[in-house]
Each structure stands twice: as structure tokens, then as C-alpha cells.
Symmetry: C2
Subunit: 248 residues, 2 copies
DNA sequence: AGCTGTGAACGCATTCACAGCC
DNA sequence: GGCTGTGAATGCGTTCACAGCT
């Protein structure tokens, strides 16, 4: 049983206990945090293309945002550009990676090795982006012993040992919705404090545990809503048989 | 290129309860639109559990939001509740489904039948949530002829015919990043106007085309950022490598 | 001159708190 | 009494526009 990871006691009020030696925490807005990985990806692409310097305008285009927003975002990290010139690609890339915390790899466990779990386990982009899959877990005995992406699938009951052994802070849930909350609870008990949830259900977690969700159906439904509006906004006149044809 | 704008699948005409004098366009805020599918899911779960009526507080809990936000969101759709009582689960569920546009199924194509494409194709939640996969496309000849989730994988060059035949408005890109923009362009040319992009790259699309992205690495990096901050008062994962601290 | 960094203005989203109705 | 629906207040995020540096 691992009780190794402890968070700072007390809530997170706006009054921050300021230890001497610890520099003031910059307080980066959540919306900016969500874009930093996009900037990181764009900078990596620029670096791969041999670009050594870029303006906020160029980087913004590569990241799909406007330059004012980009500069504002970067201003929360510090002054890493040069006025009249722009940004050094490699330098800025490192600064953002450091801010996000992906200058070293984070160990990650994936729970639920079905179709999606397989796909996630085989996703090669992990390693280069700051993560390392250290264990694949599944409750079904027939999936255990199987080898996926070079890792043997473990029984879910090994979760405590594996999380403790590899100091895992981040878990990915790729189980069916019905199992997700129980899996989540076990992960949290084992010491995981950040969860990426692919199961289409709301997870309840204790204070201090972060959950992010990825839900394919929700994304499609948002698209469908807008699509429906486009259809209303520009209806084509005189359509008698707009039935969708069935095949397959 | 096909310049025809298509209507919602099934072709049933819009039928809002339409009081005289009410503007035809309700204008639902984007943040609300993004939550409607979550409410829909929660209502379906409640209905499956046999609940026929619920308060805003109950539904909000099931959806993982607070009740004030829920009521505000629902107020954009209309007055579907009863003061002093709450909401009829089935009635509200239908109203939200209608607003989103998933009372009939939307035909969808998936491009890129690698690990992720397989997982998406096999995801069973599609049909019940308003979508129907009508085609799987891949450029690699060795993947074609393969049968996935009951559909034969087609060559990407069939995209125009398939999109036209099935009146496809929504496409899913599950290709490597390098191929994504070209695939996107072809989809748009074929007539697709909404794209769900799983490739880790920014897509450029013409006006009128919607893109939503799902990026696993970005989600993990956002978690890593917060995890790193928690770690200020606790051991760092990856056991005591150099602390990542601000050095002014 | 050129481009970054940033206060200020603006607009959108959330929360509050209570009026309105059952 | 209880719960919804909603203006008002608050907070957050984006955009503007320009000061400040190279």
C-alpha cells in the first residue's frame, strides 16, 4: 500500500503560502494552459522544418490562433521573445515544455485494453510528448497475458503495486462506462491524482484529483448541432426526396 | 465541387413549437451547446434507471455541473420544466435531442483505419447517440478489402462517390498527422462540412466548415501541468529528477 | 522601423439571488 | 413550500491598441 504521494493540506484559496526560495507562482489562466500544448506542437513542427526564429504571427498561424492571443498567452510565462525580432524556436519550445512539465517523461497507466485501449497503447506519439506507458491493465482474464505494444497486459488487481512501483500520477480510463467509476476509485486509492477519461460517464473524484474527459459522441453531437443549423440557414428549395439511402 | 447544402438526415422538416412573433433562431451560446450532449447522456441514464421526473439539482449532479448553470442552459431551449416540480425526463431528453439534431442518425465516414480508426469503427455507442458509420476509408491498399466492424474498408479515392451517395456531412479523420490536411481538403471538396480531427495537427478549412479536434497528447499535457503544480509539496514522479522550478 | 509585451476595453460565461409559478 | 426561469452581478477570456525595447 502506497501512501507516498500527499498533497499540500488545506484548500486552494487565493492566499498562497509563499515559502522562501520558492519563486512566485505565475498563475497561468486555464484557457492559456489548454493552448500551451498546441504551441509546443507548432514549435516542434517549426523546429523540425529547420526554422530557428519566428514571429508571433507565424507561430500563431501554425497553432491556429491569432497573434494577440498568442502573445498574451506567452506573456504569462515570461518574456521569452525579442522585440523587433521574434522568438527563438528552440528556446521557446523548451520554456513551454518546462512550464507544462514535459521535460521529463510522466509514467502513465492505461486501464481497459479493448479496441480503444489497444489504440492508445500503440500510439507512438506518447514518448516524444512527455509520457511513457508503464502498464496496461484489464479486468478480463482472457486479455491478460496478451502482449500489446510490447507490454504484457496485467490484471487490474495489480494496480496498487504498479502505481507505487512506477510512481504513476496519471491514469487513462478506456473501459466501458459501467466500469469507469469503480476503476477511477481504485486508481485514486492507489495514488493516481490525474485521470484522462474516455468512458462516456461523469466521474466523481475527491478534491485534488483532476479529471479530463474525451468523449467522441459529444464531439460529434456538437458538430451535428452546427450542421443542423447550416441546413436550416441555407435550405435548398424543391427537394422532394432527400431520404438518406441505405446500403451496406 | 458539390455546392449543394444538405439538410438534416431523414429530411424531416424543422418543427419547433413556433409561437407567432418568436424569432426562428434561438441563438444558443457555444458553451451551452457543448454541454447539451452531457445533459442528454445524463437524461438517458436516468431514463434507463426508471426515473421519470427529476429536479435541476438531480440532473445537474448526474451531469457534473451545478444546478444554476443547468437551468440557465436549459432556459435557452425553452421552458421545458414545471416550477415546483422539476423536469419530465423523457420529454426533456427528446427536446434536447431535437435541439442537437440527433433525433435521426447522421451518416459519418471515418478516414484512416489504423489502430484508432479500428477502435472508432467498432465503437458501439455511435448508433444510439445519433450517428451511423456508412464508410471506412484508407489510402493503403493492404488495408482495403479488410473487413472492419462489418464494413469493407474502401479506397480513399472513393470518397466523392461515397459522400455523395450517403449524403455525408460529417467526417472523422484518424490518419497520421502528415496526411490529415490533404484528407481534410478532399473531404471538404467531396461535400463534408463538419470534421472531427484526431490527427495531431491544425487543419485549415474554408469558411463554413466546422472542425473539432481530439488530441490525446494535449489532454495529457494539460493534466501534467496541473500535476506538476501539485508536486510542489510532494515527491515528483520519475523519482527525484531535477526539480522543475522557476529560475527568474 | 519592427515586433513584443501589456494595460484597458470589451464580450462571453458563470454565478447569484429572487421573482414567478405550481 | 418548492423548484424553475431569469435579470443582475461578477468573473474570465479575448481583443484592441499602443508603449517599450531592439
Amino acid at each position: 500500500m502506497s501512501a507516498t504521494r500527499r498533497r499540500a493540506p488545506g484548500g486552494r484559496d487565493e492566499s498562497r503560502p509563499h515559502e522562501p526560495g520558492t519563486p512566485a507562482t505565475p498563475v497561468i489562466p486555464e484557457a492559456t494552459v489548454a493552448r500551451l500544448p498546441v504551441y509546443l506542437r507548432a514549435l516542434t513542427a517549426l523546429a523540425d522544418a529547420g526554422t530557428t526564429t519566428c514571429s508571433s504571427e507565424e507561430l500563431a498561424t501554425a497553432a491556429g490562433v491569432n497573434s494577440a492571443k498568442l502573445r498574451k498567452d506567452l506573456s504569462y510565462l515570461g518574456s521569452y521573445g525579442t522585440r523587433g525580432v521574434g522568438y527563438d524556436v528552440e528556446y521557446l519550445r523548451y520554456q513551454i515544455a518546462r512550464e507544462i512539465g514535459v521535460t521529463q517523461d510522466w509514467p502513465v497507466v492505461i486501464v481497459g485494453i479493448g479496441n480503444l485501449g489497444h489504440a492508445l497503447a500503440n500510439f507512438s506519439g506518447f514518448r516524444s510528448r512527455g509520457f511513457r506507458i508503464v502498464a496496461l491493465l484489464d479486468a478480463a482474464p482472457e486479455r491478460q497475458q496478451e502482449e500489446v505494444a510490447g507490454l504484457r497486459v496485467r490484471g487490474f488487481d495489480e494496480v496498487d503495486a504498479l502505481v507505487a512501483e512506477h510512481q504513476v500520477a496519471i491514469g487513462v480510463i478506456a473501459t466501458p462506462a459501467a466500469a469507469a467509476q469503480a476503476v477511477c476509485d481504485r486508481l485514486v486509492t492507489a495514488g493516481v491524482t490525474s485521470i484522462l477519461n474516455f468512458a462516456p460517464t461523469v466521474l466523481a473524484v475527491p478534491e485534488g484529483v483532476d479529471v479530463r474527459k474525451v468523449d467522441l459522441s459529444i464531439e460529434l453531437q456538437i458538430l451535428a448541432y452546427h450542421e443542423q443549423r447550416k441546413a436550416h440557414a441555407a435550405p435548398i428549395p424543391g427537394e422532394g426526396l432527400d431520404r438518406v439511402e441505405e446500403s451496406a
